[in-house]
């Protein structure tokens, strides 16, 4: 079952990458994407504070960034 799940994920990634060539925008179409609020790292301080809270209070961490935590935080 786990193998099937892994193969599915790998399959999705490959098709995504292959499909990427047809996606995207021209340089002059980046007006909205260039906004600060559209950056994937927007509100970085908030995201880091949230990561710290949830790292301390839950069993799983990471995803957006490294899972290590960087503190004892118990």
């Amino acid at each position: 079952m786990k193998k099937i799940a892994k193969l599915t994920v790998v399959g999705i990634i490959i098709t995504q990458v292959a499909g990427c060539a047809s996606l995207g925008v021209k340089p002059w179409e980046r007006d909205l994407l260039a906004k600060e609020s559209m950056s994937l790292s927007a509100e970085g301080v908030d995201l880091a504070l949230d990561d710290h809270i949830y790292f301390s209070k839950e069993a799983t961490s990471g995803g957006r960034a490294f899972a290590g935590g960087g503190c004892g935080c118990n």
Partner: protein, 450 residues
């Protein structure tokens, strides 16, 4: 890129103001030096649980572009934490006594109450430094260090990553590696795995004052106290663990309004992964506590993360949705769905509701208690954070940009954890007691950017 944009907005606004006032703008003169200005991002956060832990955390993050996208970021984080933290021991129909981590003091837990160590107190300082720069055509490299120090804990780490733009910068591939070395020096020494907590027969027998190095001389000749003290002196001191993280990602621009990210993260920890302050009760078939042990977790853990995020630009805001699936070899699986919807109220202000839904399954060695009729397992923890749990966060943030280009924001959030029974029968008196109390927390944060 964004830093320059921020500075430009600030400069433009300042220039416009000056033009209206008929004065010469220093900001305009300084325009060429914008990339040399420091940008500060600061925040102060309050996190408070009802009857449990409360935390104040302050962050100062400073970023400077030294030109041509050679960017330095330095960040200092302070936090102070006080209040009670659940120990893992079960409640009882009578008062219970426990030793504090140092062994010098003791505390009493009232009938039906979840055992909490109410002297829990810690402060922490963390420093991060990160350097990012182009290393080839369409390729960036980044390297950083962190150090975090608490009273009983030291964490040091290094990280490096590269990112490459392909497909006319519509696709970015990234890969990162981090190594972290943590050292814990528990108050009172490191208890042996699943060893009994030494608890004195009466609270008055304890040395009482944790801060008093001279001790309570009355207890020196008491054989019960002497044996108790000796058990703490025989403990090992500091313990280490190391963690290696690998993070690979792909970011794809879908169209003029949509950007998507997919990350896979692997995290391998080796060493001392216990929480030295967490306990597990040994109970009879009537649910009466017979003994209190220190928990025992495996000394390695491998975690996998899959993270997907999409951002969509509306005409008057941004939709941000993410999903994370995590699993590890402790048999914990979790699902996290998160959304932030940013609505621009005007050119200068926005409001942003936040929803986060979290669900995790229990670690294979999680048990709310041990039965005295069963053999002692190798690993057992009653830490509710390793048990089955649902959690929800509801929040709202309001942000505003000032005429001088600086910005502030405030957010208020409610976080609730609902631990669940992962199929354990509670014998005797435990059936009537709350073994899985909810934890409710309030989060308030204020940000200022300049």
């Amino acid at each position: 890129m964004q830093l320059n944009k921020n500075s430009n907005i600030a400069t433009t606004l300042a220039a416009a103001t000056c033009a209206l006032l008929g004065t010469t703008s220093l900001a305009t003169q300084a325009n060429d030096n914008n990339q040399n200005e420091w940008q500060f991002d600061t925040a102060i956060l309050y996190y408070g649980e009802v009857d449990r832990v409360s935390l104040i955390e302050g962050v100062v993050s400073a970023t400077k572009d030294f030109g041509d996208d050679h960017i330095f970021n330095g960040k200092v984080t302070f936090d102070g934490l006080t209040g009670a933290s659940g120990t893992g021991a079960v409640p009882q129909n009578e008062n219970q006594t426990f030793s504090r981590p140092s062994g010098k003091g003791g505390y009493s837990v009232a009938v039906g109450e979840t055992p909490l160590d109410d002297t829990f107190k810690d402060s922490r300082v963390q420093v991060n430094a990160q350097w990012t720069q182009p290393i080839a055509q369409d390729m960036r490299g980044s390297a950083g260090v962190h150090i975090s120090k608490e009273y009983d804990y030291l964490s040091m780490g290094i990280n490096a990553s590269i990112a490459r733009d392909i497909n006319k910068k519509n696709t970015t591939l990234s890969a990162g590696l981090s190594y972290q070395l943590d050292s814990i020096d528990p108050v009172g020494g490191t208890p042996d795995r699943l060893s009994s907590m030494s608890i004195l027969s009466d609270l008055s027998l304890y040395d009482d004052d944790d801060d008093d190095d001279h001790g309570n001389t009355d207890q020196v000749d008491n054989p019960e106290y002497t044996a108790h003290e000796l058990s703490y002196e025989q403990r090992e001191s500091s313990q280490d663990k190391d963690t290696v993280d690998v993070l690979i990602g792909i970011t794809q621009i879908i169209n003029r309004r949509t950007i998507m990210q997919f990350n896979y993260g692997l995290s391998i920890s080796d060493g001392y992964l216990n929480d030295p302050y967490k306990l597990i009760s040994v109970i009879s078939d009537q649910g009466v506590v017979q003994d209190t042990l220190f928990e025992s977790r495996p000394d390695s853990r491998t975690k996998h993360n899959m993270y997907w995020q999409t951002k969509y630009a509306m005409d008057n805001g941004v939709i941000d949705i993410s999903y994370r699936y995590a699993q590890d070899d402790w048999d914990i699986q979790s699902h996290t769905i998160e959304s932030r919807l940013r609505f621009e109220i005007s050119n200068e202000s926005y409001i942003q509701p936040h929803l986060r839904i979290y669900q995790q399954s229990a670690a294979e060695f999680y048990q709310p208690f041990l039965l005295n009729t069963s053999l002692l397992p190798s690993f057992a923890s009653a830490d509710y954070r390793l048990g089955e749990m649902d959690a929800i966060t509801l929040g709202i943030k309001y942000g505003s940009k000032m005429t001088n280009g600086n910005a502030w924001a405030v957010r208020v959030e409610y976080y609730q954890q609902d631990p669940k029974n992962a199929g354990f029968d509670a014998p005797g008196q435990l059936a009537e007691l709350d073994l899985y109390p909810s934890i409710k927390a309030l989060i308030v944060q204020f940000n200022y950017q300049f």
